[in-house]
């Protein structure tokens, strides 16, 4: 039988909605009420997401976030803080049964990140998976992912850097002020890159998404069937959203 997955349309949501949809899909997939699903979205307003083990005070300058109208949200996945720039970043999310990916954590990242690698190749770039959870082009990070396994299903989501505002990113993240020098920014450019920088032009979000859709279908050996979120999924997400918007969750650690 074909390995059928649902492909959702590109969405633009605030942070709390996006994180709640991810969790609702994970939960309902585990209960056999949601199919394996892949989706792409943008964050409006731009957002800093922090890993579930991070302390927000340690990682984010909340005054600067407020000043620029940037939201801050805690994920249910581990890993580091990510700046989801509305104008320069696309996020993907994959939800599937645990049995559909290798049990070994790094191998499961390798499989799913393979979609990004192949998607970037379709854009004309040479990309490679860098364990645990990164994808690199020319030895520089272009994508980072984070995964959780709960209730028998897997959620992996991650960032695709298209044309991020690196200076704003480091103003928002708590890097010691003396570090935000031209020298520090230059060292970031040696370690982190973007689709725009590597391609020499800024592709549209639709173009990147289309390349990634093909890349993931290839890597997951899946047939994607276009679909929509079900009422049950949206309803559950609406309940979960309250958690993500709460101060208690943001300051949980």
């Amino acid at each position: 039988m074909a390995n059928e997955w649902r492909l959702l349309p590109l969405r633009i949501d605030d942070a709390f909605t996006s994180m709640a949809i991810d969790e609702a899909l994970l939960k309902l997939n585990a209960e056999d009420k949601s199919p394996n699903t892949i989706r792409f979205w943008r964050w409006l307003p731009s957002t800093i997401s922090i890993g579930c083990f991070q302390n927000v005070e340690h990682e984010v300058d909340l005054e600067v976030a407020k000043k620029y109208g940037v939201d801050v949200v805690r994920r249910i996945t581990g890993g580091g803080a990510v700046f989801h720039d509305y104008y320069g970043e696309l996020t993907y999310g994959v939800v599937c049964k645990q049995g559909d990916v290798p049990d070994d954590i790094i191998e499961s990242y390798r499989l799913i990140c393979g979609g990004l690698v192949r998607g970037l190749e379709r854009l004309g770039l040479q990309a490679e998976f860098k364990p645990v959870n990164d994808v690199q082009v020319n030895g520089k990070k272009i994508s980072g992912s984070a995964q959780t396994r709960r209730w028998g299903s897997v959620l992996q989501h991650g960032t695709i850097l298209i044309s991020p505002d690196v200076r704003l990113m480091f103003e928002l993240l708590k890097v010691s002020p003396e570090k935000i020098s031209d020298k520090f920014i230059a060292s970031v450019y040696e370690r982190v890159t973007s689709v725009e920088r590597e391609l020499g032009r800024k592709p549209t979000f639709d173009e990147v998404r289309a390349a990634m859709v093909d890349g993931f279908a290839d890597a997951l050996d899946a047939d994607f069937v276009e679909g929509e979120l079900a009422q049950e999924e949206l309803g559950l997400a609406e309940q979960i959203e309250l958690k993500y918007a709460s101060k208690e969750w943001l300051r949980e650690r």
């Binding site: 890993g51 083990f53 302390n55 340690h58 890993g79 954590i105 364990p131 645990v132 959870n133």
Partner: protein, 91 residues
């Protein structure tokens, strides 16, 4: 409250702790690492309270945590937690 950071091969461990007579009385771990399942981190914190802030005792406690919970931390192991805790304890 003592605070230290330790950069493991994959991820930074941040430790806040309080000591009473060389023994950990309070500890909070945070950082950008991965741990499966996520709620195991609280168990690691609990496993460290009451442990002497000395390499041998810490390593034994962290190893016990891993074997009793089956927690998985890709590219991170007991020695990295121990190093991070020792760094904070020595301040």
């Amino acid at each position: 409250m003592k605070f230290a950071e330790f950069k493991a091969p994959k991820g930074v461990i941040k430790v806040e702790l309080e000591l009473k007579h060389d023994t950990i009385s309070r500890i909070s771990l945070s950082g950008d690492f991965f741990m499966y399942p996520e709620d195991a981190l609280e168990r690691l914190e609990r496993a460290l309270v009451g442990v002497k802030a000395e390499r041998g005792s810490l390593l034994a406690a962290v190893q016990r945590f891993y074997s009793s919970t089956g927690a998985r931390t890709p590219m991170m192991g007991p020695e990295h937690w121990v190093e991070a805790v020792l760094r904070a304890a020595k301040l």
